[in-house]
Amino acid sequence: MVRILDERRQQVYRKGQGSFNMTCEKKSLAGAVSQRACVFCGSRVVLYPIADALHLVHGPIGCAAYTWDIRGALSSGPQLHRLSFSTDLREMDVIQGGEKKLYNSLVELIDEYQPKAAFVYATCIVGLIGDDVDAICRKVSSEKNITVLPVHSEGFCGSKKEGYRAACDALYKLVGTAPADGVSRHSINIMGDFNLAGEIWLIREYYNRMGVEVVANITGDGRVADIRRMHAASLNVVQCSGSIIHLARKLEEKYGRPYIRVSYFGIEDMAKALYDVAEFFDDPVMMEKAEQIVRSEVAAIMPEIRRYRKDLVGRKAAVYVGGAFKAFSLVRALRLLGMRTVLVGSQTGNQDDYRQLRDMCDAGTIIVDDSNPLELCGFLKEKGCDIFIGGVKERPIAYKLGLGFCDHNHERKQALAGFTGMLNFAREVYATVTSPVWQFVRRPQPAQENKK
């Protein structure tokens, strides 16, 4: 059995064993090698894809260096987000304060790149050395006549979730700063999609074919001007709800714009995302179009998926992702491929999420919150999986154990959303599960090891 630190026992549940009372939304345990990141990471993830904004990281060089162009968030126009800007604080700045450097950096970068807005990310030490980031942002805002928004993302002030919240707070300051006229009644914002490998383009196209106007992408292929008028959209369609739900709630409060939660992964969830929007607008023509899209798209991908399914039926999968909502979709998508999910977990899920996962999964499935490499390894071995679906930090664990792997995180360069994405996902799962290389990995052990 896997060794679990005492303080983490309530963060692991095995379906069918004991009553369900998972603890989650806890701080990561010191020394546990959590797969989570920090507040800064959460903010950076959400805001990063806004392609015509300047993103300046205020702090020593690490935070900016490690987040330079690491995500596959595509832009159809400006590419400013793909540059990494840092105030690169040094020892003297730590002693004397970094305000002047921040000011100078902002001014020169705004002059050079003419962004539509600027985000300034405060990292761990900024408050400690006494920098008043808000004041500098206000000053540059008025001098340069451009919105400069502080993002309070000091790494230690919580987890990734607080970072999402800080990003949403910054975004919210832009909302409503441009007129809302000329927007169709049948309009939505696509929220919580980051346009990895062009996914948001796929989704937009489906909605457009249904006759729905998309006002703003939040934040994949995002533009400052769209965010300013996003309050005009009748409905907010929210994916990856952990990252952006805070903003959706604020829009509902202030502008009375409702939101629905969707997922674009897998046939079932993708279709539902279209139907739910048509249903919201209560428009039979739109619903008819949605059904047509689903019919034709599914018909186009199913023959190939069925071929893969033959070889994948009965295989076992493990899923460990950032948000629980994605985990739901993956469990369903894997089922479509004939596979069983025997381990599923997330970095940031809540009680309800985990209850839903429990209800979806078969008996014996392990459900885990904020896991770590050693635990994950233990679970994978215990369950004997064929594939592990996670992010880049999970990849070497899978490979070391001789399992297939699918990157379902932000670094992937392959669209996994939409109907096209489901086909790509099936191809990738098939490729990694049935690759001939595993015959060499799962080799017999040398004689001396067998003796142990």
Binding site: P60, Y66, F85, V94, S105
Partner: protein, 453 residues
């Protein structure tokens, strides 16, 4: 030669450096049964793990004390102690290397005191060695962090022994696992007993295993590090490292172990210097295997010399790697027209000058540069090729100049840890890659598309 050190921008745009804790973590991953531990926010450990994993494609566990607001205000002692206890319980390490971060340095954590406290509170328990290293991210680069950790480990473990030992110390600096394996092979072929610190040739380039290891096996053993103070000599690679950061220097001062400080042995001249020292220390002539390897390398130089002669290269990355590559390029007829690094040791310029005496007029050295500085300078120099880590791909693509990937990190190709740079063999591989890159550029831009070149 011009040494330029004026950034046009206050801000750093696309950094050509990483932060100090990253380097320290790499060193600790090269010590047997050792877990790196970052005293700071959770994000530092996670980002650095991700950065390593994308290069080495191996599991890299780094623990964190996972600071929260309370610890930032009242100190992170409790978090550190809890973290250490958890790491000891789960990983059962022989050593924990604790590196600080900008956060814990800024709030002034007294690491030795906190660790003493932990040891005192854990009386009766068998504890691993717990070695702190100060790595404020606002000071120096990952390379300084790497060397600081090597020095911290030596300082805390090595004892003077009047050069009674038979072994030599080898401090390779921040090179690839393949480089480390090759250095060990060479020294073994000279029949010299040695201690190499760090040694991540197995821990970060490991075979698949039947049983997952909590901490990948391999690495310099603690016992052998303890013996480094008795060594006959230390060979250290790297000419830009500050003396106060150099473990070789420390061993010389404290334990009277003479230090042979060499540049990274890239190319014939620098590898010859390394072999000369090995010959002197072992009393042996160059093993025949290397005599032939050297001969084959010279033969390759001759075969390829016309493809490379007079070509202009931009070289960037860690300072010692830049110096090593520049020396190598100079000896094959390529002009390293721009030698750049994000680091600011203040010794890059003089060292480039030292290894390329005939080319001083033609080389620009950029210290403390970011990638946009480098791009700008490169655009005016009409280079034929670019040599450095994968982060230069952005400007290589923009300028339409091919990139030969060396060093760390290589995030857009497979096999970074298997890249060999050192020794005659490494030079041979580099030479082939460089020549073929130039040939390929010529071939693909040719309207004819020759099949014989």
């Amino acid at each position: 030669m011009k040494a330029v050190h004026e950034n046009t921008f206050t801000a750093c745009r696309n950094a050509c450096k990483l932060c100090t804790p990253l380097g320290a973590c790499l060193t600790f991953r090269g010590i047997e049964a050792t877990l790196p531990f970052l005293h700071g926010s959770q994000g530092c450990a996670t980002y650095i793990r991700r950065y390593f994993i994308s290069h080495f494609r191996e599991p890299v566990d780094i623990a964190s004390s996972s600071f929260d607001e309370q610890s930032a205000i009242f100190g992170g002692g409790d978090n550190l102690h809890r973290g250490l206890r958890n790491v000891i319980e789960k990983y059962k390490p022989q050593m924990i290397g604790v590196a600080t971060t900008c956060l814990t340095e800024t709030i002034g954590e007294d690491m030795p005191m906190l660790i003493r406290q932990f040891v005192k509170e854990s009386q009766g328990d068998a504890l691993p060695a717990i070695i702190p290293v100060s790595t404020p991210s606002y000071q120096g680069t990952h390379v300084e962090g790497f060397h600081a950790a090597v020095r911290a480990v030596v300082e805390s473990l090595a004892e003077p022994g009047g050069r009674a030992g038979k072994a030599i110390n080898i401090l390779p600096g921040m090179v690839s696992p393949a480089d480390q394996r090759h250095i060990k092979e060479i020294i073994e072929d000279f029949e010299l007993p040695y201690v190499m610190l760090p040694d991540y040739s197995e821990t970060l380039d490991a075979p698949t295993v039947a049983e997952y290891e909590k901490i990948a096996s391999g690495g310099t053993t603690l016992n052998s590090i303890r013996g480094m103070g008795q060594a006959r000599a230390t060979i250290s690679f790297g000419s830009t490292i500050a003396s106060e950061l150099s473990a070789g220097c420390l061993l010389q001062q404290r334990c009277d172990v003479p230090e042979y400080r060499l540049g990274l042995p890239i190319g014939i001249k620098q590898t010859d210097a390394f072999f000369d020292v090995l010959g002197e220390l072992s009393g042996q002539v160059i093993p025949q295997k290397y005599f032939f390897e050297r001969g084959r390398l010279i033969d390759a130089y001759v075969d390829g010399h016309k493809y490379v002669f007079g070509k202009r290269a931009v070289v960037y990355g860690q300072e010692d790697m830049v110096v090593g590559i520049a020396a190598f390029l100079a000896e094959i007829g390529i002009i390293p027209v721009l030698c750049a690094s994000g680091a600011e040791s203040g010794r890059l310029n003089e060292n480039i000058r030292r290894v390329t005496p005939e080319l001083t007029q033609e080389i620009t050295v950029l210290e403390g540069a970011d990638f946009l500085d480098i791009e700008q300078a490169a655009a005016n120099l009409q280079p034929d090729l670019i040599i450095g880590n994968s982060k230069g791909y952005t400007f290589s693509r923009k300028l339409g100049v091919p990139l030969v990937r060396v060093g760390f990190p290589i995030h857009d190709r497979i096999g970074g840890p298997r890249l060999l740079h050192l020794g005659y063999r490494g030079a041979g591989q580099l030479f082939d890659r460089i020549v073929n890159t130039l040939i390929e550029a010529k071939q693909s831009s040719s309207p004819v598309g020759y099949t014989y070149i």
